[in-house]
């Protein structure tokens, strides 16, 4: 897979939207891969005992799933040089699972450095779950 050519990218280009499924098995897999075994991401009874409506996804899973949409668009996962977000709302994961919609817009293209800034909007059931989510990818 080759990275996207800088010359083909313009401000206003849209990334996605991509719909991402999440269920409890996915959160267990993420917990194992990330090392974050907080039971609020796996155990419904525990999550409710600390005042949450249900199991919630790791914020870092949501950020990671959003990054995957950007890296698929960039064509090379090693091209992300900056990625940051605020976690504004938890993604609730009932037994039946849930869905995210990830979409990005190219906000800036620096032809000199090859840095492309993408504003990422990630929503769950129509509500934003990440705030000020910005990725910078470097393209040739």
């Amino acid at each position: 897979m080759a990275s996207r050519a800088l010359s083909t990218v313009a401000v206003g280009d849209v990334v996605g939207p991509v719909t991402v499924r999440v269920d409890r098995d996915a959160l267990v897999a993420y917990a194992d891969a990330s090392g974050d075994q907080n039971p609020i991401h796996q155990d419904e009874a525990f999550a409710r005992s600390v005042g949450l409506p249900d199991v919630i996804a790791h914020g870092m899973w949501t950020m990671g799933a959003s990054a995957s949409v950007v890296t698929d668009w960039a064509g090379d996962a090693g091209r992300v040089v900056e990625f940051g977000t605020r976690f504004t709302k938890p993604v609730v994961v009932p037994l039946a699972g849930n869905e995210l919609v990830v979409q990005g817009v190219v906000k800036a293209v620096d032809a000199e450095t090859g840095r492309v800034t993408v504003d990422v909007a990630t929503t769950c059931q129509g509500e934003k779950v990440l705030g000020r989510c910005i990725a910078v990818v470097r393209l040739d």
């Binding site: 897979m1 080759a2 990275s3 991402v20 996915a26 897999a29 993420y30 194992d32 891969a33 990330s34 090392g35 974050d36 600390v50 914020g59 870092m60 899973w61 950020m63 990671g64 799933a65 990054a67 995957s68 890296t71 698929d72 090379d76 996962a77 090693g78 992300v80 040089v81 900056e82 990625f83 940051g84 977000t85 605020r86 976690f87």
Partner: protein
């Protein structure tokens, strides 16, 4: 419990080294839904200019959180982990974390602030290889929710 402001500016000794394993990269990539072959196919990764398979951009958190644990778990720091939520996360990547890297994480406490009964704690973790190559600067703000005393 009150978060101890005296920890601002403190830098912890490096955590690790953690050997980056190709199987772990593949598992992380699958968990975040990245099908890019640079995570799973060493030949594809080399064709893209990397020494071996590379980690997805947010996998750095595995190593940055391992490094900041020494601070977060320090009873004198005053962080009640049962009241912690992740507020902000930012990565600056100097080069992709690559299979075979031996990763060290050095955490500094950048800020402790109070806001509306909560405490906001910002840490910065520099990830490097054991040979001193810069990998990632990870900055994280956690919110320690206030509550009944």
């Amino acid at each position: 419990m009150v978060v101890n402001p005296d920890y601002v500016g403190r830098t912890y000794p490096p955590d690790g080294p953690h050997l980056v394993d190709a199987a772990l990269i593949a598992a992380f990539a699958a968990a975040v839904g990245s099908a890019d072959p640079v995570h799973t196919d060493a030949q594809a990764a080399r064709a893209a200019g990397y020494a071996d398979v590379i980690a997805p951009p947010t996998m750095a958190v595995r190593f940055s959180q391992a490094a900041d644990r020494a601070y977060v778990a320090d009873p004198e720091a005053g962080i009640d982990f049962s009241r912690v939520v992740h507020g902000v996360q930012r990565f600056v990547h100097h080069r992709p974390i690559t299979a075979g890297d031996e990763v060290l994480g050095t955490t500094t406490v950048d800020a402790v602030r109070s806001a509306g009964g909560h405490a906001m704690v910002t840490t910065r973790t520099e990830l490097t290889t054991t040979t001193g190559e810069a990998l990632t600067t990870s900055t994280s703000t956690i919110v320690v929710r206030g509550g009944e005393e």
